[in-house]
């Protein structure tokens, strides 16, 4: 637990520095100075500077899955789906296209599949869609697994386009509109609102 907290703290302060000074202008030394730790200690938590971003997005999807489980327990599948699908894009918009592009370049070099594509996320997304279909809250009759696959791939494609086009469109809104129209959302979109979005 303490380890996770420490790591979180390092990631947060590194991101802050990246955003204020630009990724290239921030050294590991500077992040260490900020946090009063040594370089070996930093590397114990995060093995390389460029992995700060990867770790951040890993955390984002892990937290989204926890939150979504909570919504599912409260029988709020729409809010759960929104949380699962919106988290990464929201985080990307918070970071901005420049840092998101660095994260994408890193993924391409490492051949790293995003954590949010993990099978757990795919399963949860599939479950949410299946429940929404049972409750007749969405119109699409396609198999939930297929829809989940499409929505997650679309999220990847839009995210990469957004990064490559330097944030030329509203990523969150564009994705949300796409999701609603592909699923054929029949109920008021307010059901998809999550607590922190209001």
């Amino acid at each position: 637990m303490r380890t996770e907290e420490k790591k979180q703290q390092l990631i947060d302060s590194a991101l802050q520095l990246f955003q204020s000074k630009g990724y290239e202008n921030v050294s590991i030394e500077e992040i260490c100075r900020r946090n009063s730790i040594s370089k070996p200690t930093f590397y114990k938590y995060i093995p390389a500077k460029e992995q700060v971003l990867a770790h951040y997005f890993e955390q984002v999807s892990r937290q989204a899955m926890e939150k979504a489980s909570g919504y599912l327990a409260e029988e709020r599948p729409a809010a759960a789906l929104q949380t699962l699908l919106g988290a990464v894009n929201d985080a990307a918009e918070r970071l901005g296209p420049e840092l998101y592009r660095i994260y994408w370049s890193y993924r391409i070099r490492q051949c790293a599949q995003a954590d949010f594509r993990s099978s757990e996320l795919k399963h949860m997304t599939t479950d949410c869609i299946a429940i929404l279909q049972q409750k007749s809250e969405i119109d699409s009759k396609e198999q939930p697994e297929k829809l989940a696959m499409v929505l997650l791939d679309l999220s990847e494609g839009l995210g990469m386009s957004w990064a490559a086009m330097n944030g030329a469109f509203d990523l969150g809104r564009r994705y949300q509109n796409s999701v609603f129209s592909i699923l054929g959302v029949l109920i008021a979109p307010s059901a998809y609102r999550t607590s922190e979005a209001s």
Partner: protein, 187 residues
């Protein structure tokens, strides 16, 4: 006539060298030497390494569609997808990754998906929509945007995980997006 000739030789040489050795390992000198074209000539024609790589992935829109767009709008969408997919999956995951890398670095001359191909996709979708085959209520242009970005996401996954290309999954995905009953080749 002679003009086309040296450009085609550059395309052919770059294709062979990129596929054999990978993008980074190939130099412009090697491409020119193998094509028997001088470097100043290549650059005068604005043929740089990124341009040559992007050219490999450009769909050939002069290839005719086997499905008649009027009689079989959905079939013609599938055919049109194939024009692009044939390129995307032709050279393997490594080279495709290089293409994505260039795109993210802003070094590739145009967007992942060529404009002319994209505009024709809008047109094909518009046809299918007019024929009442598409349930998704969005405008044809935003539907084309969804399809294009889905293809990018899908091919990105292919490029980093070396998964099978599984074109059936792609057709299924496009069908889910447009919300049509069947998108397939007529034959």
């Amino acid at each position: 006539m002679k003009n086309r000739d040296y450009i085609d030789r550059l395309y052919a040489s770059s294709k062979r060298l990129f596929v054999e050795n990978g993008y980074d390992a190939v130099t412009m000198d090697e491409i020119c030497e193998s094509a028997g074209v001088s470097k100043p000539t290549a650059y005068a024609a604005k043929l740089t390494k990124p341009v040559l790589l992007a050219r490999l992935y450009r769909p050939d829109l002069s290839e005719s569609l086997s499905a008649d767009p009027k009689a079989d709008p959905l079939g013609s969408i599938a055919d049109h997808l194939d024009r692009l997919l044939d390129r995307i999956f032709s050279y393997g995951p490594d080279l495709l990754r290089d293409l994505f890398r260039l795109e993210l670095d802003g070094r590739k001359p145009d967007y992942f998906i060529e404009r002319a191909w994209y505009f024709e996709l809008i047109e094909r979708i518009e046809h299918a929509r007019t024929a009442g085959l598409i349930d998704n209520q969005e405008e044809a242009e935003s539907l084309a945007g969804m399809v294009a970005n889905f293809l990018i996401g899908y091919s990105f996954e292919y490029s980093i995980s070396s998964a099978d290309e599984k074109r059936e999954n792609l057709y299924e995905g496009v069908r889910c997006i447009l919300r049509v009953r069947r998108i397939d080749h007529a034959n």
